[in-house]
């Protein structure tokens, strides 16, 4: 039975647990991870006839599948801290981000829905040190910017794989704690589209009855 609130001990468990899982995890150097990511996108980019938006869309789908596989392994451990309160999600997010990236996110914040403007509830977080975009501006083999990503139309960015991973991970948690929402994650700010910082937004859209 999922908890209603994460509670004091849940918060402490999340804080300690993330360090334990990170310590146990098999690690890879950030440079090789970033280069590997670039080469994976390049394979998909060529697969789609050098169409970057389509490649990023496929990559988001791949991220969704990867997120499902990985979160499935963590559901059992995570059930000790999962709660039915959306306001607790920043704590879950901070812990899971640390487990996978070994780095902290900045100011994860839950923003409640607004009935006057029809804005759904959302979770916003920033990544101070984005490993995916690192050095990409100097790499001319793939031109990545707001225009080539067709951001205005697609809202897809270089970090679309992260959006896919987070989307399926958050959705799995919501389903596990039986909350009637669908999650949609967008990288609302991306260094490669000219922003100063990488920022992700997860929208909690009420499920239609």
């Amino acid at each position: 039975m999922p908890k209603e609130r994460i509670g004091f001990f849940g918060k402490i468990l999340a804080k300690i647990g993330k360090h334990f899982y990170w310590w146990r995890a098999r690690k890879m150097n950030g440079l090789i991870m970033s280069l590997d990511f670039l080469e994976c996108v390049r394979v998909i980019y060529e697969y789609h006839g050098n169409n970057l938006p389509l490649a990023l869309k496929t990559f988001k789908e791949l991220g969704r599948s990867a997120g499902q596989s990985v979160i499935y392994e963590f559901l059992d451990a995570g059930k000790r801290i999962f709660s039915r309160r959306l306001q607790d999600f920043p704590i879950l997010l901070e812990s899971s981000w640390y487990i996978f990236m070994g780095d902290h996110i900045s100011g994860a914040e839950f923003i409640a829905e607004r009935y006057d403007t029809d804005e759904p509830a959302r979770l916003v977080w920033q990544v101070p040190r984005c490993v995916f975009c690192a050095g990409l501006k100097q790499d001319t083999s793939i031109v990545v910017n707001k225009e080539t990503m067709d951001w205005e139309k697609t809202k897809l960015t270089w970090g679309s794989v992260v959006c896919g991973v987070m989307e399926s991970a958050l959705q799995s948690i919501l389903d596990y704690v039986v909350l009637p929402f669908n999650v949609k994650v967008e990288e609302s700010k991306c260094v490669m589209k000219g922003d100063r910082v990488s920022e992700y937004t997860a929208y909690f859209l009420p499920k239609k009855q």
Partner: protein, 202 residues
Amino acid sequence: MKFTRIIGFLIDNILTNDEEKKGKRKRKSKEKSKVEIFTGGKPFIELSRAELLKIKNQEAFIPIIYAHIVGLIKVKYGNERTIERLREMGHKLAEGLLKYWKPSNTGSIRDIVKETYKFMLYRNIHVKEEPHEINIRDFNCPVCYFDIADSDIPFCVVISGLIEQLINLLRAKNPKLPKIECKTLASRSMGAPYCEHLIEIK
């Protein structure tokens, strides 16, 4: 609420992964704290590839995403072209890697392979040296996803491509290094208990 934050802050400080942050953090003004706590006193930064050398990530997603990509391109290109493309991917990885990092000991192929694995994956690798060939056995291949053991494509052909190109490019700096060819003999993605690469000295 405040007490939980203080406990959390202390845990993060004691167990932090970031060397820069260890012992250096001080509480500053409330307005600055959000940014400064998480970036070690610096503003948001756009990382360069050279800075990535100091950063560790978990490798969990790499084999899963890689497995999906192999499945996808196999349908379009067929097995032969897919293997060729994966080797090319390994070559490109080696070229990218050498722009920012080089093994410190380039005296022997064995040392290069061991140091490269240590740098990339923070672990040792089993390398057996014989007169005209070197055998590498990896029981925890970073690209062979544990859920797939019945593929007809050796996923880790990208690793043999990387090793081959890395050593052949290092020959430019150290002409004593022989020209090599690296083949994948066994792969966990094809059901083998470990991944095995053979370096043939030409």
